[in-house]
Symmetry: D2
């Protein structure tokens, strides 16, 4: 299948993935998980919402937890370059007949809500309130010392079409997993705007659903420490997969589940990708090192479970690819 | 079941586990594995034998590979305090009617071969030729940077009796796994002479067989690097279990298999145990964090496979304990 | 003094710093240093030139060593976005009456040589031959495991004017050191194109001279290992400063000198900077944590010595700022 | 000068260094330093005393802080094997006419206070109250994650005589620094009982004074984190030397000063020494890598400052050796 060709001069400038809004059922339990166990910093909180950010982040929040009756992912946020990009984005979604509206969101600048053609709820901003970085407040470090939101991964029923859509918005493919053979279909793709392996990835599956959001950590030892902390403080059932090394992205990783089952990846040590002639790496679906360089298959839950996007219906994937699952 | 009580004034002084003699079928393949992949240093080699040691070790060898028709563990070596301890040891084995004989072994001082009551072939020395430590030859470091032989773990058909025998030789129990209930039997025990968690461990199972030998490494990152090296240089099938954190011993670990299937553990960060009133830790067999703090069960091979001791018949274990195995 | 304001729509698109060309007096000694000690990979070599790259780099070279009668830095290379940017760059330098010429360089695409107004010799390319990344050839890792060229730092007699010139080319200031007081002058500035702390930095001093080039490493432990290797394999005199943590950039660092005295930094763990509203951090020249968070001053050589640019005359700095130097 | 020969069958059995009693002027400030910054755990505290231990330690305390009018080291504690060793020790000190007395100390078993011939105030115990290890309470880890007291280092006016005295108590020399030449005198010696590089070291100097006490940490990255924490939370002036790699012991180290100036070392990765034929390593006083493998000299304060032992007069050293000091 054709590898999508990204546009160098997109209709509006997306700088990077910016934040994620999650709906959670027990705000106190979720705050404890993200603040104490994971180690994010709470910027602000009220009765229904907690705003968090990584230790290097100067933006007000990269994760918003909102109290709700059931768990869901509300929005995936992207940072645009400038105010004019917001207007260009509104025009783009209007031209394609896609839902979009400017809304007021606390702590954020002018904010555009929009949906992509596949039902992914987006939240576009050109800025939000800034806070001092906590990077050199080392005495406050805890948990896995999460530095910044790195990327979001989504279950997509139509992977190829999703990749094509975001390529037309300037996202560039860095790695992809494909069936073998002349008609092999792409089963997953990793795309970036900010210059590392990805801001946004699509995995073939029933969706749209959020597969995970990911924070970057300084070293593998921080991730090992998080394993030790979780296993000995009541969070053993929240450890889902890893630690390990991805073949794809080369990152050292761990997947955990928050109290509502939202999946979080901790991740470090991928690579630079900003050269315009940077070529995507192809992985065969038959190569088990794609998912874990060290060969251990992922558990079934990792392949099957994800967070609903609030208000979105699910569709079955366009095809079912063979994958290797831990029995 | 009774926890064995060690003797403070044993009949002869065992300082620590000293070395292991393995029989291998392809000496070149085994040397490449231990020297290049694991990173041990070759002290000497001839047509039939390769002698290796860890980077800090000043003794001539802690691992001996001998060409043979089939794989086996030939001997487990222990370091005694002084020459007089060798004679006391010979007297001890004589008094109990156990096989023993003084033999000549290259690069070693006076050497006593003996068998324990359960068929474990021992090789006792009060010294061997010394070589300079390579600890500060950093430019020569490779693989997992193995510092020193740490311990040996054996499948024992009679765990309780084995623990009792070695307790009478001054080995002290630091941790053990036991069935629950008033008649719970000990299924595994870890015993030391040198002041950390163990020199010698016994695991309930068909035996006697060598479960694994273990080298100490500086940090968990060295073990992660070994995973990356093995997975990308043709040794993926030799990776058996981990990396992970043991509940027992608190060590960060990895288990690998050499070209003949002999199992090697890489291990770091356990704790001190030399206080005479140091109390052993009990683990319930029902606690999965015992084997892996992070909860992942060990694969079936890890429970079932081991190296024969050359010339020893196997016996079934005294009982079969329930354990949790990865399916 | 005014903090320079970068241009969002520069006359041509510089993607990142790309490579450095050094002149060395003993090619074999320099190759041994960079290949064996530092751990760069040799892509190609002939009688007069060695081409090297970091383990993740897919471009043919990020460091070129050329045999010469005396040590010098020949060129600092930048990667442009596309071929058209090369022509726009040529027009830009022509319009300003600055030296420029298209030249043939092995393994590189069309190459533009140019000088900035301060005598910095630049080499601009829109691409070079590509090679497979060695990122997952872990068995070949050695030295400090350098991943990629990160930045170049230059002694500039006219820091403010240099920052202004590169801001007009789209470089964005992330941190700067300034005299205190209303007329405080900027003594050093760090500027980026690729989205981390810098591609190019200017330090007030006699120049133009190369202060150092820097490779990114995976973790601080790799840098500590390089210290151990150098100290025990004859390279102790080549260790100049560190390891330590910079206040500026938050990076863990080490400075070493190659056989000709060219200075190399090894560096890890800075932060993201690609948001258009990312504000530069100001450091007072009186704050010793600016250079080393842990307080240790840099040695005198670090402040005074640098590599000449071949064929360039030196000028004294516009002013002399007080700095804290190890006596 | 003669290297001291240790006794294999000493008059009483010292297992290891056990604890240190420090007098401090501001108990709250000292507790904050050791508990929050260093990361020791407080076992008990009252108006005048705080008892702390490392995360793996099962004994009630390895550091006791006592409120006093001026700073001093009150006692260096050693753990004996059994109750009978306490009586043998009392007899030993009586026979030599050295001060000794059995005293009551909270949380400790029968306790013998004694002075060595050089005025070092000792506190000998055969046990103290035990507490659960915190090794697997990972969520409580903080600071440098200190695992256990490792050793104590003392300024001795008579180094050779001190080494000889403790050799007669079974301490074994592992490394020593000596003047060159046929009459070269030993300027420092490292001695152990527990099987690693040292429990007790003597450094030539005005004394007796405590040079430092040392806690073992899991990895070098924990020590780097402590540097970052101290430098950014008001403890920059308390950082005295390092981090670095000792030539002697091969340990990665950091020296810090507590609020009263008592010196603490954090230390990891030395080596095993329990073999009876383990030979001590000699370092020339002229080899700068002895103190720091990477060549950086120690600051003057490190050579000159130490904690008084309460009530002890100072004596000048028997000789003054040339050492290399940072100017």
């Amino acid at each position: 299948m054709p590898v999508p060709t990204h546009i160098f001069d997109p209709p509006f400038n997306i700088v990077r993935v910016s934040h994620v809004v999650l709906e959670v059922t027990d705000l106190a339990a979720s705050r404890a998980f993200y603040e104490t166990v994971v180690g994010l910093r709470v910027t602000d909180a009220d009765a229904g919402t907690v705003y968090l950010r990584g230790v290097e982040e100067r933006q007000h929040h990269s994760l918003v937890l909102r109290k709700a009756d059931g768990p869901a992912c509300r929005r995936i946020g992207f940072r645009l370059g400038h105010e004019a990009d917001l207007d260009a984005a509104a025009a783009f979604f209007a031209q394609r007949g896609l839902p979009h509206a400017f809304v007021e969101v606390p702590f954020q600048g002018r904010t555009l809500h929009a949906s992509d053609p596949f039902g992914l709820p987006l939240e576009l901003v050109a800025g939000m309130e800034r806070r001092p970085s906590s990077l050199q407040r080392y005495a406050d470090y805890q948990g896995v010392r999460p530095q910044r939101l790195d990327h979001v991964n989504v279950f997509a029923p139509e992977v190829q079409a999703s990749l094509d859509f975001y390529a037309a918005l300037g996202f560039r493919l860095t790695e992809y997993a494909e069936e073998d053979g002349p008609d092999g279909r792409i089963a997953a793709g990793w795309m970036h705007r900010k210059g590392n392996v990805h801001d946004l990835a699509f995995t073939n599956g029933r969706g749209p659903r959020l597969h995970h959001l990911c924070y970057w950590t300084p070293t593998a030892l921080d991730i090992i420490h998080l394993c030790d902390v979780m296993a000995t403080s009541g969070y053993l059932p929240n450890m889902e997969r890893g630690p390990g090394r991805h073949g794809i992205s080369n990152a050292f990783f761990l997947y955990i589940r928050d109290p509502d089952g939202h999946r979080i990846e901790l991740y470090t040590s991928d690579y630079q990708t900003m050269d315009p002639d940077h070529e995507p790496l192809r992985w065969s679906l038959r190569d088990p090192r794609r998912q874990t360089l060290w060969g251990a298959p992922a558990p079934k839950t990792w392949f099957e479970e994800g967070s609903l996007f609030a208000g979105q219906d699910l569709r079955d994937p366009a095809f079912v690819a063979d994958v290797i699952v831990a029995s």
